[in-house]
Amino acid sequence: MCDCGNSKDILVPQVGIITGITQETPDVKTFRVNAPDGGKLFEHMPGQCAMVCVPGVSEGMFSITSSPTNKEFQEFSIKKCGILTEQLHSLEVGDMVTVRGPYGNNFPVETEFKGKNLLFIAGGIGLAPLRSVINYCLDNRENYGRIDILYGSRSADDLVKLQEIQDVWMKAPNVNVYLTIDREQEGWDGHVGFVPTYLKEIGFKTDCIGIVCGPPIMIKFVLQGLKEMGFTDEQIYTTLELRMKCGVGKCGRCNIGSKFVCKDGPVFRFDQIDELPNEY
C-alpha cells in the first residue's frame, strides 16, 4: 500500500456522499453530491463531466448538471437505462459513491458565449448538461443577451427539472422558455409536437448561438432545421457521448478520429464535428 499520503493518480477517485435525491421523472433522478465533510468535491465549468462509481458495480461518465455558481454541492441528473444507472437509482441519501473529475472541455461561457444571445435546444435527459450552462448564464445575467430555451420530452411527466424551469427560468429577465411534448396528454395545455418541428414553427432569428443536446435523432433534425433557418455550423454547439473509462484520453474507448471525446470534448462546435469520421 502507498504510505506516501500526497501521491494521487488521475484514475483514483474521491469519496462522495449523496446528500439529496429528487425523482424528476419516472426514470430520471437528480443526485446531490458532497464531500464527506461537506462542501463540493471539486470546481468545474459548465459542460464538464465526472466519473461516478458504485464500487463493485461500475463507473460511468455523467455530465455535471449543476452550475459552478452553485457553491454548495454538485448535481447529476441520471436516467435509469443500464446496470450502473439502475444501481445508482437504488441508492439513498447518506449512501456513498466515488467521484473523479471534472473531465473534458466546457461550453465557452467566458469567451465565445459572452455578450451573445443564446438559444438552448434540449430533448429529454439532454437538458442535464445544458442546465449547468443555463444556470451559469442566469447567475451572470449581465454577461449574456437574450436567452431562449426550447425543451421537449416524450410526455409532460418526462420533462426534467420542470419545477425549476417554471419557478426560475420562466421568471428570469429576458428569458423565453418554450416547452413541448411529443404526444397530446390530459392536463397538458402547452405545445405538442417534436422539438425540430416546434423549432421551425417558432422560427428563431440567427442572431444567437445555438446549443443543442438530446437524442441523436433529435440533434440531427434540429441541426437540419437550424441550417434551413440560416444558422452556420460555427454557430452551433453540442456534446458528444461515447463509452469512456479513463476520462483523460488514454484508454482508447471514446477515440474518434484524432479526438478523444472525454478530453477534447464533450463540447464540440458542428464545424469541428464535420471534420470527424462519421462514427459517433
Binding site: M1, C2, D3, C4, S7, K8, D9, I10, L11, V12, P13, Q14, V15, I17, T19, P55, G56, V57, S58, E59, C81, G82, I83, L84, T85, E92, V93, G94, D95, M96, V97, T98, E241, L242, R243, K245, C246, V248, G249, K250, C251, G252, R253, C254, N255, I256, G257, S258, E275, P277, E279, Y280
Partner: protein
C-alpha cells in the same frame, strides 16, 4: 565500449539482479516472454518474444486502488448523524496502490520495442500523466539488444527503426552479440550508472567488431520481404480519404475479433478499468483491453462501432492516421511483426498497408 563473454552472461545477470530487479527474455514451456530473472533461468536472446515487453511499464493487469467498505450498524450511529437525518450504512474509503519506487533493469529489449515505449510515452506521459506508468518509466533502465537474426515477419525499418543500432532508440544501454561476446555501450546517464555498478563483470572492448555486426544486421534486414512497404498516403491529415475507402469492406472479413494482435503489440495502449469484489471491499484494477472486441464501445444506449469492419478499421486508422495526427506525424506501429506472426487468420497491418498501396497504384486487391 565494454564486452563480456556470452558464457559469462549469467555472472552479469547475477550482478545486475543483486542490485535491481531484472527482467529479461525467458524461455518457458517453449515460449519466450519477458520475465523476472532467477537463478538457472533459461534465456533466449536471439528469437523474438511472443508478447512485447511493454508489460514492464504498462502491465497487463495492475491494481489502481482498493475501496474499503466499513459497515456501521444503525444502532451504533452517533446521535448527531441521526439528527442530521443522514443514514450512514456503508462508509467507503480509498487506498491507492503504491507506485513503483525501486529501480529495475529490463534487458534484451529490441530497438522496435524501445520505440514502442516512446509511442506509449506520448499517451501515458502527456498531460495529465499517468502516475503508475510514469513511476515505472522513471525507475526502469532499458538495456537494449541489437537483433542478431531479424525474422521474416520483421519490418521495423519501415517505421524508421534501426535494428542494428539501439542507441538510436531511447535505450539507456545498447548491446550487441558479436561472435562469442556481448558488447555493451552506455547511452544515457542512467545507463552509465548501471554500467558503473556492473563494471567488474565487463572488460574494455573495441568498437570495430560492433560496426561490422551492424552492417551484417542491415544486410539481413534489407532482404526481408516486408521491409519494402510504402507508407505513402498514410499519416496525419489522411482521415477522410482513408476512412471512407471501400477497401476496408473488402479486406476486414477474415478478422475474428480475437484481439491477439492488440495483446502482442508493443504500442497498443487501450485499457479497461474493472472491479474485483474481495471479501472486505473492492479492488479496482486496470487491464489491457482491445478495440477489436465487440463490447469495447458498448454503452447502455447502444454503441458507435457495431460491426467488425468498423472495429478493424479503427485499429489501423488509429495506428496509421489518428495517432500521427495527434503526435507530430509519429506512427503507432514499430514494425515488430508480432501481429504478422500471431494472427490466426494471417490478417495484419502489413496486409492492410499492401492492400491500400496496391489499390492506389490501380491494381486489383
Amino acid at each position: 565500449m565494454y564486452k563480456i563473454s556470452l558464457k559469462d552472461l549469467d555472472t552479469l545477470f547475477r550482478e545486475i539482479a543483486g542490485n535491481n530487479e531484472l527482467i529479461l527474455p525467458v524461455k518457458k514451456a517453449g515460449q519466450i516472454n519477458f520475465g523476472a530473472y532467477e537463478e538457472g533461468v533459461e534465456t533466449d536472446l536471439i528469437n523474438k518474444s511472443v508478447k512485447s515487453p511493454k508489460d514492464a511499464f504498462f502491465p497487463q493487469f495492475e491494481t489502481l486502488y482498493n475501496v474499503k467498505k466499513t459497515i456501521t450498524p444503525a444502532d451504533e450511529l452517533a446521535d448527531g448523524e441521526e439528527a442530521a437525518n443522514t443514514k450512514i450504512r456503508t462508509k467507503l474509503s480509498i487506498e491507492m496502490e503504491g507506485l513503483k519506487d525501486k529501480d529495475f533493469v529490463i534487458f534484451g529489449m529490441r530497438a522496435c520495442d524501445v520505440k514502442g515505449v516512446e509511442v506509449l510515452d506520448n499517451v501515458f506521459l502527456s498531460d495529465p500523466a499517468d502516475s503508475f506508468y510514469k513511476a515505472r518509466r522513471d525507475h526502469g533502465i532499458i538495456v537494449a539488444l541489437a537483433c542478431k537474426e531479424p525474422e521474416e515477419s520483421c519490418f521495423c525499418t519501415v517505421f524508421g527503426v534501426d535494428p542494428a543500432d539501439p542507441t538510436k532508440a531511447k535505450a539507456d544501454v545498447a548491446t550487441w552479440i558479436v561472435g562469442e561476446d556481448l558488447y555493451w555501450k552506455a547511452v544515457t546517464e542512467k545507463g552509465e550508472k548501471l554500467t558503473e555498478s556492473v563494471k567488474s563483470a565487463l572488460t574494455d572492448a573495441d568498437e570495430a567488431a560492433v560496426e561490422s555486426e551492424k552492417a551484417n544486421i542491415t544486410s539481413i534486414m534489407d532482404k526481408l520481404p516486408n521491409t519494402k512497404l510504402s507508407l505513402e498516403g498514410w499519416g496525419a491529415g489522411k482521415t477522410d480519404e482513408k476512412f471512407n475507402s471501400e477497401l476496408w469492406g473488402k479486406i476486414y472479413n477474415p478478422c475474428l475479433g480475437c484481439g491477439t494482435c492488440t495483446f502482442v503489440c508493443p504500442t497498443c495502449q487501450c485499457y479497461d478499468i474493472k472491479d474485483y469484489n474481495t471479501k472486505d471491499g473492492i479492488q479496482r484494477y486496470r487491464c489491457w483491453d482491445s478495440c477489436m472486441y465487440s463490447d469495447f464501445t458498448l454503452m447502455a444506449g447502444g454503441q458507435n462501432r457495431t460491426s467488425q469492419l468498423q472495429r478493424f478499421r479503427q485499429r489501423f486508422m488509429h495506428k496509421l492516421v489518428y495517432y500521427p495526427d495527434r503526435y507530430d506525424g509519429m506512427f503507432s506501429c514499430v514494425g515488430c511483426g508480432r501481429c504478422v506472426d500471431k494472427c490466426p487468420q494471417s490478417l495484419n497491418i502489413v496486409k492492410v498497408i499492401k492492400a491500400f498501396d496496391k489499390e492506389e497504384k490501380g491494381g486489383a486487391v
